[in-house]
């Protein structure tokens, strides 16, 4: 398979300050947050295409999850359950905000907030450029393809779990993924 893109690898010359650790009333829920927040945030970021909206969405997802913990029967993995809440939440946001009009002219500041302020200018540029290209590419794909690619990129998700989340068989997921990858590469190359 052809490689998709070549970019300079960032040089991490500075050490990021340790983030302030949240004080959880429920340590168990804190563990869930620590385990899954990164995946939830990234899915929301690339689904919504906006870092501030993704932050709000991730906050709301975990708030919903906390409120619905009593309803969670443990039939699926916690991650799958959280992803389902995230997908529903983001789809609702997209429908109600008419986001393509609101965010089609997102300014540079949006992307610059996606990385730590201590990052070097080179790293900032690389992250911004690659992130923009990925976002443009994902935006050009049908929603189903976008979702499948983002879900399978999570190494903690199995095909069966992705199939469960997207309400289809694992074989159907594999077939669509093949087409989704081709579509991604096609659109990505056009963003160069």
């Amino acid at each position: 398979m052809e490689s998709v893109v070549t970019i300079p690898e960032p040089v991490d010359t500075e050490t990021r300050p340790a983030p302030k650790r949240p004080r959880w009333e429920s340590p168990e829920f804190g563990e869930i947050y620590e385990e899954h927040a990164r995946g939830i945030y990234y899915l929301a970021l690339r689904f919504l295409g906006d870092s501030a909206a993704a932050e709000d969405a991730t906050h709301d997802v975990f708030l919903k999850a906390y409120r619905k913990l009593g309803d969670f029967r443990g039939d699926s993995a916690v991650r799958t359950w959280l992803y389902r809440i995230t997908i529903n939440h983001c789809q609702n946001l997209l429908q109600s905000w008419h986001r393509r009009h609101l965010f089609s002219n997102a300014d540079d500041a949006v992307w610059e907030t996606a990385v730590a302020p201590t990052d070097s200018p080179l790293r900032l540029l690389e992250t911004k450029e690659l992130g923009e290209r990925i976002q443009k590419t994902l935006d050009a794909l049908p929603e189903e393809y976008r979702l499948l690619l983002l879900l399978v990129a999570d190494e903690k998700m199995s095909y069966d779990e992705v199939a469960e989340l997207t309400e289809q068989t694992a074989d159907a997921v594999r077939g669509k993924l093949h087409r989704a990858r081709k579509a991604f590469v096609h659109h990505f190359q056009k963003t160069a």
């Binding site: 398979m1 490689s3 998709v4 893109v5 070549t6 970019i7 300079p8 690898e9 960032p10 040089v11 983030p19 302030k20 949240p22 004080r23 959880w24 009333e25 429920s26 168990e28 829920f29 563990e31 869930i32 947050y33 620590e34 385990e35 927040a37 990164r38 995946g39 939830i40 945030y41 990234y42 970021l45 690339r46 870092s51 932050e55 991730t58 906050h59 708030l63 906390y66 913990l69 009593g70 969670f72 443990g74 916690v78 990385v115 992250t127 690659l130 992130g131 990925i134 690619l149 983002l150 399978v152 990129a153 190494e155 998700m157 199995s158 095909y159 989704a180 990858r181 991604f184 590469v185």
Partner: protein, 82 residues
């Protein structure tokens, strides 16, 4: 999860190693990174875009006033693993 992924990642490493000298024009210690698959690129992108550090604190503050989840649920959860 994809049987093909490991092959692609392996090939990607070989390609990167083989092409390192071709990209020495890049300054300092920079090397050229190639992505062998879409998933690999997205994983890299995810690593570059962690949730803001303040978000955990914000969530913790939001759930603090809410009643704690029923204990029976937690027992069920942790007996099956997170």
């Amino acid at each position: 999860m994809d049987p093909q992924s490991s092959k692609l990642q392996h090939r990607q490493v070989e390609e990167t190693t083989g092409q390192t000298t071709q990209h020495q024009h890049l300054a300092g210690k920079q090397t050229t990174r190639e992505f062998g698959s879409v998933e690999e690129m997205l994983r890299h992108d995810a690593q570059q875009n962690p949730p803001p550090p303040r978000l955990g604190e914000r969530v913790a503050e939001s759930v603090a006033p809410l009643p704690k989840p029923a204990r029976s649920w937690w027992q069920k959860l942790f007996s099956s693993g997170i």
